[in-house]
Point group: C2
């Protein structure tokens, strides 16, 4: 742990606590905005968020960074993350931070309105403003060799670049398309009527996963999410669906997967501000974070063992129907990757100025036609389905699919050591190997440390192939 005797480190910890508190408060304001706030409260909320962002930013740029010689990995991580955060902050004027904060708060409200009204035009002006400010900030933050989109990627998963993602995605998208085509046919006869059944098992599942409700709560929101105010206050939201048990169940498991990461932090890392990463500051980066949520949602939640225990044997095929649909969060786990690749390609071009905001609905439809063979019937289930861009979270989407890839690689190692369908064993394995560390190690370091190799998408394809081969008794 952190050096107890080092005054500079101790002072830095105190500053880190204040920053962490402010960051938690900002997260609470945002959570409340999506879960509780009355409709007219939006303008004042945007101002409150702007004022807090300004205070946070000023605190960050006036941070005193010590010169400490140490081999202690905790001290080193603290100094590394605080230095990075300060250097980032110094490049952006406070007025821009404040304007951005107010803008995204209002943009989220416009997005909600637009989605309800099913009209992209209602959201477009806000989105333009968000992009303009994001670009302004990215230009100020850009280091040599980075693209503007790289800057945005780095915010959610430190060090991630568009070149790196392209390498992975361009190769795998051919494999994915091939599998979607085959599996669509193979799985089409599963008895979909079962999806109408009510399986009210979400709460039991996440309890068994180990999500501590005395240190969390479940609410509803327009878009399910997880937010952390402290290791002991990690809240998730979900949504309702009356005609199909799957969206609610899998959203709940997904968010609980995030929440376990946050609740599993080493208590000695409590109340530390360790850099960017949305409300989920406990985790190392969003690719690793999404690996946790997608691991529980899919590799566990759509397994035969899970279905037999929590649902019924015949659901196994139903929760594994491969059928391209327009909505990402309701997608099966094979076509899901293509939803992400579509978003990656679109937002990259949007940020590089090759696409105009006005054209988004059209381009969205074209890409969905091309990659998934379907056309969203309206904006609400098309361009407006995700809240991310309203948050200014460009560069977030790739982490979902990277998360799936990481998850299968992790589980490939885990299953050699434990029974991964024993929730307690799996949770403790994840906690011991990942959760406890927060941002002490990077995602790359962790993955290498645990699995002995760098990211290898092969594990995901193998996982898919093995699953369906077994499910439908195919010969290899």
């Amino acid at each position: 742990m952190f050096s107890k005797g080092n005054k500079d480190i101790q002072r830095l910890l105190v500053d880190s606590h204040s920053l962490s508190d402010l960051s938690s408060v900002i997260a609470l304001l945002s959570w409340d905005q999506e879960v509780n706030m009355p409709s007219k409260g939006g303008a004042a909320r945007a101002k409150q968020l702007a004022t807090l962002s300004e205070i946070f930013h000023n605190k960050l740029i006036s941070l005193k960074l010590p010169k400490v010689k140490t081999n202690n990995i905790y001290d080193l991580a603290l100094i590394r993350e605080m230095t990075k955060a300060k250097n980032r902050a110094k490049k952006i004027p406070t007025s821009l931070i404040k304007e951005f904060s107010e803008t995204i708060s209002l943009a989220q409200q416009d997005w909600q309105r637009a989605k309800k009204m099913n009209k992209f035009e209602v959201f477009a002006p806000s989105l333009k403003k968000v992009i303009k400010l994001k670009l302004q900030m990215a230009k100020l933050l850009k280091s040599k060799g980075q693209t503007l989109y790289d800057v945005m990627l780095d915010e959610f998963e430190p060090g991630l670049s568009e070149t790196e993602i392209s390498l992975v995605f361009n190769k795998i998208k051919i494999d994915l398309s091939k599998r979607v085509s085959e599996l669509k046919v193979l799985t089409q006869n599963a008895d979909k009527r079962i999806a109408n059944k009510k399986f009210e098992v979400g709460t039991k599942v996440i309890f068994d996963m180990g999500y501590d409700l005395a240190a969390g709560r479940i609410d509803r929101s327009a878009h399910p999410f997880t937010t952390t105010f402290d290791r002991n206050d990690v809240r998730i939201t979900t949504w309702e669906n009356k005609r199909d048990f799957r969206p609610k169940l899998y959203a709940t498991i997904h968010e609980a997967g995030h929440a376990l990461y946050e609740q599993g932090l080493n208590p000695e890392l409590d109340r530390l501000y360790l850099g960017e990463g949305g409300g989920l500051s406990g985790g190392v980066g969003m690719a690793m974070h999404e690996s946790q949520s997608r691991l529980w949602e899919n590799m566990i939640g759509r397994s035969e063992e899970f279905c037999n225990k929590y649902l019924s044997p015949e659901t196994f095929k139903v929760v594994n129907v491969i059928k391209p649909s327009p909505v990402r969060v309701e997608a099966d786990e094979v076509s899901y990757g293509l939803h992400i690749i579509i978003r990656f390609e679109i937002e990259r071009e949007l940020i590089n100025g090759q696409i105009k905001v006005e054209d988004l609905p059209k381009i969205w439809r074209e890409k969905y036609k091309k990659y998934l063979g379907i056309i969203p019937k309206n904006d609400a289930e098309g361009t407006l389905q995700d809240i991310h861009w309203a948050h200014g979270a460009f560069g977030y989407f790739p982490n979902y699919f990277l998360g799936s890839l990481i998850a299968s690689q992790l589980l490939n190692t885990a299953k050699k050591q434990i029974d991964i369908y024993n929730f307690k064993l799996l949770r403790e394995w994840l906690r011991k190997n990942i959760h406890q560390y927060g941002r002490i190690y990077t995602t790359k370091e962790l993955l290498l440390k645990i699995t002995g190799e760098d990211l290898n998408p092969r594990y995901f394809l193998d996982y898919i192939d093995q699953k369906f081969t077994k499910m439908y008794n195919l010969s290899k």
Copy 2:
């Protein structure tokens, strides 16, 4: 309104906006603590509140106050309140502010626990700590001629003193006791079984009162309260009672009465920090604020006109049964004043060091025996019933009864001008005469301006006498 052309005033308004935002955020953290926070989240929440209080305090003491020559009442009020707030803040070290903030956050959690366990001892250590810090602050704030308790009173109703309250309370308590004894007998035969009926009219009533739910929301909490984050986000809480419709209905109306005050502020006074006063910073002071809640709760909500419209004619006698009970918030409107007088006498002696915390349950029982002829059967319905002391809100209680006195004086004037049972007319009258002004006028100024005289408790006694004389056809 504020001078548009005056740079100093404009700069002060900007600072006032930031302070107002921070104050709203602190209010949100507290609201969430009581309404949503999971049980384990308390320690981190206390830290977050402490960090924000420190930032708020530092902002206040570094405020630049302009020397402005003006006759504009808005400018004058702004300078007056900001000067007062800064001068108060300067006297208290930041470390004490921070410690106090963390202490009351934890004390509220201990109070909740103690109340559930029905054990005063669980709360006593926290309460001692709160009192110690309150005394420390009061000593630093005390001006010449003020008692320590005066300092605390001033925080909620500027300028209020214990001498002034004693004068009013000592006189009226004899009149009250007399009426409680008589009316207890007179009203004892009302058909109390009606109280078991379900009247689910709370939401309709507060809608008719004009509480704007698009700028507010209703939740449940251990103790009903109102909190304001902005004129457009004013939230109330209430509680449940399955055996009696009255507690929930009247708590709801009471809180909505507060909320109307906040929602009725002149929009040009939005986002201004105008001094102390809990979450209810829109109002001039808590005596005036409580006059609004108690006016709607009692003078309107327990009127014959109200019962005929929202409940049923036979409820009129039931909601006006005078029967001393141990719980303040469930008390009838005549014995209510005695609940307040008990608290006033106890907290005054507690602050003056004449009572020890350990002896509170005993003294509480003695006072209830003496003034109301009853003995609370346990701590939960005795000393632990109110959250106020856990908040450090010593000096708050007197405002409830002063509120009743002010309310009857206001209505005595209003009924000469409008039909007070027409909710729309009444709300607009209150808005025009009181709500819109925020803290521009003091309570004394407002009362004099509206009714032509200073506080006169006679109106309250007359109101009670007239009501029961008519209800029971007594000859005068």
